[in-house]
Amino acid sequence: MSQERLMKVLLAPLVSEKTARLADTSRQYAFKVLPDASKPEIRQAVEKLFEVKVTNVQVSRVKGKAKRFGQTLGRRSDWKKAYVTLAEGQDIDFMGAE
């Protein structure tokens, strides 16, 4: 896996009530990732970019929402979401990094 690829894997952090709770209770942090990213890639990307130890990665494919503008039907792209569990005692500060 090239460095270049790793830098592109993570698209955005997901910050919401749900992810905040997950971070609090089980040190899981959520990201929007490339649709074709694999778990090992995500693990490496997170470990590299945030300098943390990742213990587990879970992914899910999210279907894009169907959106209608007037009579035209539109569809948002599907995307991939990753929940990354960090080793005990570690965390990622999205807010401060923004």
Binding site: L14, V15, E17, A20, M95
Partner: protein, 434 residues
């Protein structure tokens, strides 16, 4: 709270203040908590944002805010604690601001000078003494007459000071030139408004006379085509008027607003006005001298910050007077001396008032307002306006206070009397105000 003060100049103080960390952090915590209840952050419903997230997002900002507020309030506190009175605003140099660390900052500011007034017993002040004589009134009436001179046509040769109505036609090498022609022009002989020789050439001409003038335009004439050229003017005099001064009679009095009592009443009115002016001038001169003596006796250091403020104010006033539209960018040095003097005087007067426990004399205030009002046509209105206007009253109060201070100075000082004429005194007054 720890405060240490060091003197970094005659009036400059460096004050280092340390505020315990708990005070800062406690306040930050409170702010964030109240913020958490209303903060809107994408991904969270309002009020459901976890405290941790709020702190992450706003912590730094709130910290700064609280720190600067705390610096202000603790600065005041520190001043009270140390019993210092700053002149002008402080320059605050903040230290590191971090959670858990004591908030430390250094404020540099100037203090009002502490001084005690020098005794004024051995100063000498010249008090101008002036009586208005009949001659003064005559001079004033003469001035008024000249302001109201009228022109009356006469059938005789024009003399210096007369007004002459002329038609003229100028030729340069036999050709008429631009602007060289005019009809029914009014020329006042001796006013110097026409080119050299023109007015002189008209002397002695009677209405109906015609004359040719050989003249030369001056070298610095504004039109280049004509400058330095010799031209001929054909002039025809249509009318000669002599100035006529109004006689001092009832009509003259009436034209000045004195309808009853004729000349005697007019003289009385003029005398009253002059006396008022005299009184003002006398007071102004005396005040100026008294304050000058006060300044001379008390050479104290003046806080630069106050002088700067005063300079700003003076520059602003000047700007307003000269017209707001242009930005004149007046050089600050222009006002430096005046500003310094004013600040110094302000400090000294303040000290005199304090040291002698001078209270504003209400009676004097009333008299002063009435005096001001008396100069207007409708004193009642002016009085009403003054009593209904806080600002105007405040300025009157300052004036009265200044006068009381002046009296105090004069009480102390040795006073010599010196006679002046009315004119001299008025001149003196103008010099004093500048």
């Amino acid at each position: 709270m720890q405060v240490s003060v060091e003197n970094s100049g005659p009036l400059e103080r460096r004050m280092t203040v340390e505020v315990p960390a708990e005070r800062l952090d406690q306040e930050v915590e409170n702010r964030l908590k109240s913020m958490a209840r209303t903060a809107r952050i994408a991904g969270f419903r309002p009020g459901k944002v976890p405290f941790k997230v709020v702190r992450q997002r706003y912590g730094r900002q709130v910290q700064m805010e609280v720190a600067s507020e705390l610096m202000n309030s603790s600065f005041q506190e520190a001043l009270n604690q140390e019993g210092l009175r700053p002149a002008g605003g402080p320059r605050i140099e903040p230290g590191e601001i971090e959670p858990g660390r004591n908030l430390e900052f250094t404020a540099v500011f100037e203090v009002y000078p502490e001084f005690s007034l020098a005794p004024l017993e051995d100063i000498e002040i010249e008090k101008p003494v002036t009586e208005i004589s009949d001659a003064d009134i005559d001079a004033m009436l003469d001035k008024l007459r000249r302001q109201r001179a009228t022109w009356e046509p006469v059938e005789r040769g024009a003399e210096q000071g007369d007004q002459v109505v002329v038609d003229f036609k100028g030729t340069l090498d036999g050709e008429p030139f631009e602007g060289g022609e005019g009809s029914d022009m009014t020329v006042e002989l001796g006013s110097g408004r026409m080119i050299a020789g023109f007015e002189e050439g008209l002397v002695g001409l009677s209405p109906g006379d015609e004359k040719q003038l050989d003249l030369t335009f001056p070298e610095d004439y504004h039109s280049e085509a004509l400058a330095g050229k010799a031209v001929k003017f054909d002039v025809k005099v249509k009318q000669v008027s002599a100035s006529k001064l109004p006689g001092i009679d009832e009509d003259f009095a009436a034209s000045l607003g004195v309808t009853e009592g004729g000349i005697e009443a007019l003289r009385e009115e003029v005398r009253k006005n002059m006396e008022r002016e005299l009184e003002n001038a006398r007071k102004a001169v005396l005040k100026d001298r008294a304050f000058e003596a006060l300044i001379e006796k008390n050479p104290i250091e003046v806080p630069a910050a106050l002088v700067e403020e005063e300079v700003d104010r003076l520059a602003q006033d000047m700007q307003n007077q000269l017209g707001q539209n242009q930005n004149l960018n007046l050089p600050r040095e222009l006002f430096q001396d005046k500003a310094r003097r004013r600040v110094l005087l302000g400090l000294l007067i303040g000290e005199v008032v304090k040291a002698n426990n001078i209270q504003v004399d209400q009676d004097r205030m009333r008299t002063l307002v009435e005096n001001i009002a008396a100069g207007y046509e409708d004193p009642e209105e002016v009085l009403k306006w003054y009593y209904g206007n806080q600002e105007a009253m405040a300025s009157v109060q300052t004036l009265v206070l200044e006068e009381q201070v002046m009296d105090w100075i004069l009480d102390q000082a040795k006073i010599t009397e010196k006679p002046y004429t009315f004119e001299e005194l008025i001149e003196l007054r103008q010099a004093a105000n500048s």
